[in-house]
């Protein structure tokens, strides 16, 4: 059922989207902020990378995408920390504005084809040769490096401050740390990872499209939750690695679904259901336990209620 090509494809995509899962790990889990900038920042990364590659600078496209993503994160963070916009709304506002920005970056066209363009992938192919698994090496390499840097970063004083901001903001202010600053740094870093994911994806599939980011935040969360529920118990590094593994597993689930002739139009609905169920699971379980207790109490016939 799964041919080698399909397995490689799922691994490659899994590693690319793992950057989004790690970004959401940082914003959603560590900082405890639901960052809706994700969709727009992803496309921004795609657009920057594609435009740079078409202009002949495929490698430069990656840091440019990260900078642009950080800028988008900065705007969301500024809206919520300096101007009192609720955090979810701040992300949605930035995301809406980014649609125009992304079109502008792509020269006011809804897609950028790169069929004959030199990309980081073709450059590595020329080095490693046609037969080598150069795509997988590149995708896995970028994600591994970013994952290692993220884990190292979260162990630094600044990283500790960011983690504490999500864990107990009162205590952070009492430790002379400015939460506005830590939230800003956290969102800049997470959105630069999201943009990097988009940047690698654009060069991987040789095109950038304005709609690529739709639902990205849900897909990232699905990956994050899958990883957490399977491997996420333990230290910080384990949780970060779990996000990567979750993303790869998610891509395998999608690959199998496509093989089983699930129409690709249905995938977003499936992702949405996975995320809704996973996040609702503890509440559903609590309600179920309560109802069972109540039912058994009623059967007792004493009618305490």
């Amino acid at each position: 059922m799964l041919t080698t090509a399909v397995v490689f494809n799922a691994l490659e995509l899994g590693f690319i989207y793992a950057l989004v899962a790690m970004a959401l790990f940082l914003s959603f889990r560590v900082l405890n902020v639901a960052d809706m900038t994700t969709d727009g920042a992803f496309v921004l990364g795609c657009a920057m990378s594609a435009t740079a590659a078409v202009a002949g600078h495929p490698i430069l496209g990656l840091p440019m995408a990260m900078l642009a993503g950080a800028a988008a994160g900065f705007i969301t963070a500024a809206l919520q920390t300096r101007f009192g916009v609720p955090s979810i709304l701040a992300g949605i506002i930035t995301n809406t504005g980014l649609y125009t920005v992304n079109l502008a970056v792509m020269g006011f066209s809804s897609n950028v084809p790169m069929l004959k363009t030199t990309t980081i992938f073709t450059m590595l192919r020329d080095v490693m040769g046609e037969k080598a698994p150069y795509k997988l090496v590149l995708c896995a390499g970028v994600t591994t490096v970013v994952c290692a840097l993220l884990i190292l970063f979260l162990g630094t004083r600044l990283g500790l401050s960011i983690r504490a901001t999500g864990d107990n903001p009162d205590m952070v202010r009492a430790s002379s740390i400015n939460t506005a600053f830590t939230i800003t740094v956290g969102l800049c870093v997470s959105n630069s990872m999201t943009a990097l994911s988009g940047a690698v994806l654009a060069q991987y599939q040789k095109s950038a499209d304005i709609n690529l980011g739709t639902g990205m935040v849900v897909i990232g969360l699905a990956s994050l939750i899958i990883g957490e529920s399977l491997f996420g118990r333990g230290g910080l590094w384990r949780k970060a690695v779990a996000a990567v593994i979750g993303s790869v597993i998610y891509r395998f689930i999608i690959a199998i679904a496509l093989r089983a002739n699930v129409p690709s139009e249905c995938l977003k609905l499936i992702s949405a259901c996975i995320v809704a169920l996973a996040i609702a699971a503890p509440t559903i379980k609590a309600n179920y336990d309560f109802k069972r207790r109540r039912a058994s109490a009623m059967k007792g016939g004493k009618g305490h209620a």
Partner: protein, 268 residues
């Protein structure tokens, strides 16, 4: 050390919920003063702490700490020199981070020069272990464990250590033992006394225990309706009984103290 001049605060001014929380509060603490504060609910004790710590901007007055006017300074900047503890043991520590990481955050107040990208060093760890050992709770052997695994008393002791790891100019204790069981409360209070006196920390402590209010520290303040109505120290305090204190309060405030918890604790 601490100088409050005519500090006033009214919440929700001009609405039906208007509440005068602080009325022209003036207070002077010498370096090394340890004052306890008692008063009924809503007397303005915690509001006073919030004003000093910078949780809000007072409507009137100035706050000077160690010669520096901090009235307009944001809370996170004040916390560089002001340590604070709350009644709720969950408020002072980050549960998903390890003991060592929590201490490293508290230690940030001292290390303004170090790079934000530096990590917890061996020297830091040794210092943390040494200070943890002084608590006598065995926490020095559990430094890699998340704080969420500790009991309320252990967390409060850790918070006390974090608030004083870098000696603050002022320590604010807001009924920090009230949520603990009596034995643990005694232990944490004893640690407080020890740390405060060893480091000569200027300290304000809110309590509902009249006995503690008279025996701990060197001054007793009583608050009512946003004012400090009584301030006793020295000889007068040394000879004062709980009943004497309550009488003086009734004289100055114009009514008897009506805090059940305080009156109940009187009979202990």
């Amino acid at each position: 050390m601490l100088d409050l001049k005519n500090v006033g605060k009214t919440f929700n001014p001009g609405t039906v919920n208007e509440k005068v929380a602080l009325q022209n509060v003036s207070l002077h603490l010498e370096a090394g003063d340890f004052a306890t504060i008692v008063g009924s609910n809503g007397a303005g004790k915690s509001t006073l702490f919030n004003a000093i710590a910078g949780s809000f901007l007072p409507d009137t007055g100035t706050i000077v700490l160690d010669g520096r006017d901090i009235t307009l300074l944001p809370d996170f900047k004040r916390s560089k020199t002001i340590g604070r503890m709350f009644q709720d043991p969950l408020k002072g520590t980050a549960p998903n981070m390890t003991i060592e990481e929590n201490l490293a955050l508290a230690f940030l107040r001292a290390s303004r020069q170090t790079s934000p990208f530096s990590r917890i060093s061996k020297a830091d760890r040794a210092l943390f272990a040494e200070r943890l050992a002084q608590l006598g709770l065995g926490l020095e052997n559990r430094m890699k464990q998340p704080v969420g695994l500790l009991s309320g008393g252990q967390r409060q002791a850790l918070t006390l250590l974090m608030a004083t790891l870098v000696t603050p100019k002022l320590l604010l204790l807001d009924e920090h033992t009230a949520a603990l069981d009596p034995a643990t409360a005694d232990k944490v209070l004893e640690l407080t006394r020890q740390i405060v006196s060893e480091n000569h920390i200027t300290c304000l402590m809110i309590t509902h225990n009249m006995h503690d209010a008279l025996t701990l520290g060197n001054r007793t303040l009583m608050m009512d309706s946003g004012r400090i109505v009584l301030d006793v120290g020295g000889e007068e305090r040394a000879h004062m009984t709980v009943d004497g204190l309550l009488d003086r309060f009734a004289q100055n405030a114009g009514h008897a103290l009506d805090n059940d918890r305080i009156l109940l604790s009187k009979q202990e």
